[in-house]
C-alpha cells in the first residue's frame, strides 16, 4: 500500500471541510454618543461551508467571549434579506464599505488565522456596534421626490407608451437598495447630526441616481422640474466633487457617475431656463 504524499498541516487547512480560525477585530459602541472601542474575537469556520461575515457574527453572539477570553456583550448588527438586495447589513469590512451578507469568509479571509476588521458606517449615526441609523437617506428621497405621482381625483388612464430599450436603460437605477455605500465612500458627503441641516446638505449619489430614474420615466417625469429645483439648490448635484468613488463601491454596479453627469446636464438647462424666466 503506497502511502499518500505527506500533507503539511498548512495545506490540510486549505482542503474543503478543514476547520480553521478567523479573527474578527470589531469596532464597538454601546450606543449613540458613547465611546468606541475595539474587541477581537476568534471564530471557527469550516472551509467550503460558505460562511459569510454575518454567520460569523452569529457565532460571536452565541458565545460572546473575546480572543483573550474576556466575557463581553454580543455584537449588535443589522440585517434583512441576506442576499444583497436590502442594504441593511452595510458596514466597513477591512476598511471598505459593502454588504456583510455577500462577504464570504473563504474569500475575504482565506487563510487560517486571518483577521477581518469590521466597523460601522462612518457617515450615519451609530445605534449600537455595527448597526447605524440610515433614515437620512429616506428623507433625501422625499426631498428629491423619488416617486411617480399617480394619486389624483380621477382615473388618468393608461400611461404613455414605452420602448423596451428605454425601460432597459432605466432598469439598473431601479435596483438601488439605498444601502448607502456610495455615500460612505464619498468625500463630499458628511455625517450631519443636525437633522434640520439635511435639507441643504449634499444629497449624495444614490439620490441623484433616483432623480435620473424618475426623470426618465414617462409618467414620473411630470415632477422633473421640482426634482431639478432640488438638484440646483444647496446640497444638489453641484456639490459633487467628481471623486467617482460612488460608482466603484456600488454593489449593484449602478452607473452613478453617468447619472450625476446626466442630471448635471439637465440642471444646466433647467438653471438657464430659470435664470431667464426670473423664477
Amino acid at each position: 500500500m503506497t502511502s499518500p504524499t505527506p500533507v503539511s498541516q498548512d495545506s490540510a487547512k486549505h482542503e474543503l471541510g478543514a476547520e480553521r480560525s478567523v479573527y474578527f477585530r470589531i469596532k464597538r459602541c454601546d450606543g449613540p454618543g458613547k465611546a468606541t472601542r475595539w474587541e477581537r474575537f476568534k471564530v471557527k469556520v469550516t472551509r467550503g461551508e460558505g460562511a459569510n461575515v454575518l454567520a460569523c457574527l452569529e457565532r460571536i453572539a452565541a458565545n460572546p467571549v473575546t480572543a483573550d477570553g474576556a466575557k463581553t456583550t454580543p455584537v449588535v448588527w443589522d440585517a434583512g434579506c441576506l442576499e444583497e438586495v436590502c442594504g441593511a447589513c452595510t458596514m466597513n469590512v477591512n476598511g471598505k464599505v459593502r454588504q456583510a451578507c455577500s462577504c464570504l469568509i473563504d474569500t475575504c479571509a482565506p487563510n487560517d488565522g486571518d483577521e477581518v476588521v469590521l466597523e460601522p458606517m462612518q457617515k450615519f449615526p451609530i445605534v449600537r456596534d455595527l448597526w447605524v441609523d440610515r433614515s437620512r437617506m429616506f428623507e433625501t428621497l422625499k426631498r428629491v421626490k423619488a416617486w411617480t405621482p399617480i394619486d389624483g381625483l380621477y382615473a388618468t388612464g393608461p400611461g404613455p407608451k414605452e420602448t423596451p430599450e428605454r425601460q432597459q436603460e432605466r432598469y439598473i437605477y431601479s435596483t438601488c437598495m439605498t444601502c448607502g455605500c456610495c455615500l460612505e465612500a464619498c468625500p463630499q458627503f458628511q455625517q450631519e447630526p443636525d437633522a434640520s441641516k439635511w435639507d441643504t446638505s449634499f444629497v449624495g449619489a444614490n439620490a441623484i441616481g433616483q432623480v435620473q430614474l424618475f426623470n426618465e420615466h414617462p409618467t414620473a417625469k411630470e415632477l422633473a422640474p421640482e426634482r431639478l429645483d432640488a438638484m440646483t439648490a444647496a446640497g444638489g448635484v453641484s456639490e459633487c466633487g467628481n471623486a467617482q468613488n460612488c460608482v466603484k463601491v456600488c454593489p449593484k454596479e449602478i452607473p452613478l457617475t453617468d447619472a450625476i453627469a446626466a442630471v448635471g446636464r439637465a440642471a444646466t438647462i433647467h438653471g438657464i431656463k430659470r435664470f431667464f424666466q426670473g423664477k
Binding site: 466597513n92 468625500p187 453641484s238 468613488n245 466603484k248 448635471g264
Partner: protein
C-alpha cells in the same frame, strides 16, 4: 451681530448656490484657463523663441522674442482694466469660493485609493498651493515686493527676460542656492496649476453635463491629459529657460528689441534694469 453676519453669508451662498457653483466652474476656464494658456505660451517663448535668433542679429532669440511679446502685451489698451476684470477679480472669485468649496470635502484616500479619488484630492491641494504660488508670483513680479526675491531683483517689463532670469536665479551671477529654491517652487507651483486646469476641464465637462457616459468621460479625459501634457511642456520649458538664461546675454537682446520698437534710449539703461533692493551676494 457676528452670528447674524455668518447666517446672512450662508444664506446668500445657499440662495445663489447653483449660479455661484457654475460661475466658479466657468471662471476657471474663461478667463483664468485661457489666460494661463496664453501666459505659458508667452513665457515659453524664452525657449521656442530661439528659432528667431537670426532675426535678432544672432542675439539670444528667446530673450528677444519674449521681450517682443511683453512689449506687445504692454501696448494693449486699458491694460489695467483687463488686468483687474480679466485676471485679479476672476482669480480672487475662483480662489475664495474654491477654498470654501474644498473645505466641504474630506479626503478618504487611505480607504479608497482610486485614481479618480487621487485626482479629487490633488485638485484641492493644487488649488491651495496654486493660490499661494500666484500670490508670490504677482506680489514679487507685479507689485514689486522685492524683499521676497533672493537677490532682490525688481522685474522690469523693458528687460523682461533678464530680470525674470535673475529673479529666478537669485541674482545676476548664476544660480544661487536660494535661486534654486525659488526655481523649484516655480516648477512645483506651475505644474500644480497646469494639473488643476487640465483636471478642472475634465470635471467641468461632467459638471455641465457635456460628457455623460463613462466612455465619453474617458475620451474627454484623454483630450484633457493631452492638453495638460502640452501645457506642462510649455510651463517646464519656461521655468527651465529662465532659470538657465544668462541675464547679461538676454539684456543685449532686449536692448536690441526695444530700440527696434522705438523705446526711449534713456529707459534702455542697464543700471535701471538691474536695480536691486535686497542683499547682494
Amino acid at each position: 451681530m457676528g452670528t447674524l453676519h455668518v447666517t446672512q453669508t450662508g444664506s446668500f451662498l445657499q440662495r445663489h448656490h447653483f449660479l455661484l457653483r457654475r460661475l466658479h466652474s466657468l471662471s476657471g476656464i474663461v478667463p483664468i484657463g485661457v489666460f494661463l494658456i496664453v501666459h505659458l505660451t508667452t513665457n515659453a517663448s524664452v525657449v521656442w523663441g530661439m528659432v528667431n535668433s537670426s532675426k535678432y542679429d544672432g542675439l539670444h532669440g528667446g530673450a528677444a522674442t519674449f521681450q517682443h511679446e511683453v512689449n506687445f502685451i504692454h501696448s494693449l489698451p486699458f491694460l489695467i482694466l483687463i488686468e483687474i476684470f480679466g485676471l485679479w477679480l476672476p482669480i480672487a472669485f475662483h480662489s475664495i469660493l474654491g477654498i470654501y468649496y474644498a473645505t466641504t470635502g474630506r479626503s478618504n484616500l487611505t480607504r479608497y485609493p482610486y485614481q479618480d479619488n487621487w485626482r479629487y484630492s490633488l485638485q484641492r491641494i493644487s488649488g491651495y498651493v496654486g493660490v499661494l504660488f500666484i500670490f508670490y508670483h504677482v506680489a514679487t513680479l507685479r507689485w514689486g515686493w522685492t524683499f521676497l526675491i533672493p537677490g532682490g531683483t525688481k522685474w522690469d517689463g523693458e528687460f523682461a527676460a533678464s530680470t525674470m532670469a535673475s529673479a529666478l536665479q537669485g541674482g545676476t551671477d548664476g544660480m544661487t542656492t536660494a535661486g534654486l529654491f525659488v526655481s523649484l517652487c516655480y516648477m512645483i507651483g506651475v505644474s500644480l496649476l497646469v494639473f488643476h486646469l487640465a483636471n478642472g476641464l475634465w470635471t467641468a465637462a461632467i459638471t455641465w453635463g457635456l460628457t455623460v457616459s463613462d466612455k465619453a468621460q474617458r475620451r474627454w479625459g484623454l483630450v484633457c491629459a493631452g492638453l495638460g501634457a502640452g501645457l506642462m511642456a510649455l510651463a517646464w520649458s519656461a521655468v527651465i529657460g529662465f532659470a538657465t538664461l544668462d541675464p547679461a546675454e538676454a539684456q543685449l537682446a532686449e536692448e536690441h528689441v526695444n530700440r527696434g520698437h522705438g523705446v526711449e534710449p534713456a529707459h534702455v539703461d542697464s543700471n535701471v534694469a538691474m536695480t536691486t533692493s535686497g542683499n547682494e551676494e
